[in-house]
Assembly symmetry: C2
Homo-oligomer: 403 residues x 2
Amino acid sequence: MIATEPAERGHTHDRVRRQNLSTILGLVHQSGASGLSRSELTVVTGLNRSTIAALVAELSSLELVIESDPETTTGVGRPSPVVRTSARMLAIAVNPEIDVIRVGVVSLGGRVIASARRQTPNGCSARRAVELTTELVAEVWADFAADHIAVGVGVAVPGLVRTADGVVRLAPHLEWSEAPFSAMLSDALRLRVDAANDASLGALAERTFGAGRGAAELVYFNGGASGIGGGIVTRGSPLGGAAGYAGELGHTLVNSAGVLCHCGAIGCLETEVTRGPLLRLVGLSDASSDDLEATLAASTSDAVGAEVHRQLGYLGIALRNIANILNPQRIVLGGFLGAIYAIDPEYLERCVAVPGLAATTESLVITRSELGPDILMLGAAELSFGTLLNDPAGWNLTPYIRR
Amino acid sequence: MIATEPAERGHTHDRVRRQNLSTILGLVHQSGASGLSRSELTVVTGLNRSTIAALVAELSSLELVIESDPETTTGVGRPSPVVRTSARMLAIAVNPEIDVIRVGVVSLGGRVIASARRQTPNGCSARRAVELTTELVAEVWADFAADHIAVGVGVAVPGLVRTADGVVRLAPHLEWSEAPFSAMLSDALRLRVDAANDASLGALAERTFGAGRGAAELVYFNGGASGIGGGIVTRGSPLGGAAGYAGELGHTLVNSAGVLCHCGAIGCLETEVTRGPLLRLVGLSDASSDDLEATLAASTSDAVGAEVHRQLGYLGIALRNIANILNPQRIVLGGFLGAIYAIDPEYLERCVAVPGLAATTESLVITRSELGPDILMLGAAELSFGTLLNDPAGWNLTPYIRR
DNA sequence: GGTGATTTGTTGGCGGTACAAACATATTAC
DNA sequence: GTAATATGTTTGTACCGCCAACAAATCACC
């Protein structure tokens, strides 16, 4: 007898249909507001016209998609109805940060249709965050309670999250440790709650709706005020690792003569590449990535240029390491990393390329994040929609009690 | 219309059966010589008794498995026949190295049943290697030609291989560059040939038959005479990346004050952690990993101990990086890395663990490679068996012409 | 503006796959 | 030797997607 974790490896009829419903809903979801015609679905999936018709009808009766007549006709032949996601199923996205808690309502197709925030100037405990989140959810959900269904709640946490049960193992900037945030929030809201690392969810969002669309092998680096996070997508799906902690790209060694990181190691990427010195050099105290980028680009100071290039050099080392390890198609840079990249893209690309291993980077594309400030709302919602997208017909039978 | 590479996302009935045949054959294959009873298969797969019976019968008629009466009975109830892989289907494994070319014949279930080697003291070109390999294959295959079927050829190459077409992009130690080895060998042997990086295949072998059995998230590091290679398994499957170059773990930065690597970067793992200084300190010119380990363990020299610990320190940095990036369940150390690990396992483990990110390593298990010198034969054969294991009923209809 | 070509939706019948239930068979326990 | 248990075997069934034929809607061309 050999060791196998899941006792259900076999495929049955049931799973075929579920898989097909999932595939179709996933495609329609990814297509966003534009939707997909039924004939496009037949082409993409390779399934028969009649099968697509039956599957779409089922999704429609589940109120997950809506069929409508196409506005513009594309050519000869009978027009094919356009399939779009319904707006009935909504996910609630939550993002606790050091000084603010954000909550959003997101529809299938990736549209943020409501949001609210609450400042927490002195930070707050996980328990307090649950209370504040509950209030914010009540606030944003009031408009939808009557005729919408909440699929669940997705939480983007700036720290290490055990994805199996949503325990925040360590979130240094929030000063949370071993906090069962998902369980507490689930008790308060009576909804299924899933949590994951914020940058991992950023990667998921970029992969689904942003700069990583269609890329099966993708790495996302995000530079925020509190450090550098990362997310990895391989074979089209987010990589969690053994417990969900994969993607801590901020703690890659880039300088063995560097300074001590809060993690206890020396010369981590996030100790060498930071927003602070850049803001200081251009005389800003706090700024959005866009503002910072504009200021950096406008600056003629040598010191600014040198600092940007110093940071790009170290970022290049981390990207090179990742390229050698994962051979991704695409690396997406978010936050201030996108800003400094934009100052001198060629320089970063030169740092990443290494003559002796040219093959690992020859087809690599480095781009900036395409999603704006809503990225974590989309990523967190995506996490929550996962259950629904994986099993459109049976998701609501899945128990969500965790503990 | 959204971007999707494979135009066949839909599941049909046909695919269900193929998937189930594949699952069963894979399980039986992994079980090795012991085999699995039909009742065990029903438990593991969750499929119905009658379904298992039909599927096993089909695999049996394809001469892929053999059913036999169990020798020992396990308890009450009617004894369940044991399903084992048949020895009719064989893969040919090839491993060109700097001074030797190895060829083996491997059966389903992971048994090397014949092998041959040819010294190439002055190295040789890819073209010459194809000739030598063809001779070696003729030699080892002679005994099997009459009543066996060659599924294909798998090649483990110490270098970067584009897995799509088996072109060796760069193999520094062989001094090959842009060599279409698979295509040439396929023309010569009239067999399907697949090639991949040697360490990646080592990872696959350890995952299937060795220290990584059952680990869905696994990283393998191999220390050889010519450098350090790696292989990554995520979600149970080997990670190739965009073109097959993933797993170049020897070129992770571990010392920014280190020496220049042949890849063009500074302070790579494989420039800091090398076999040469160890051999020199103990006065050996060449030795197997076992011999080296015995000599190192027996040595009382401080210089030897210091060198081992210096190398373990750098190896620890690389392992820590990988643990932060991939959060694997298990890291397997092969070659001389296994040897130096065995000298002081706790030291390496202390280097890997970092207080601030304890979660990423808390469940990490570091072990040595379990497979001996046959590891690359098994890995290369596994690559070749892939086609068969993925589609037991239709594999031989797949065209193998590549170019 | 009619007619044919083209594309796609719709409907009904078909084949294939796994399942369920009933029966048969081989082993253990007493 | 008999009962209990587990598993192989056989037969019929449900379900799902495919195929073929027909219907409908658009475009191109005269």
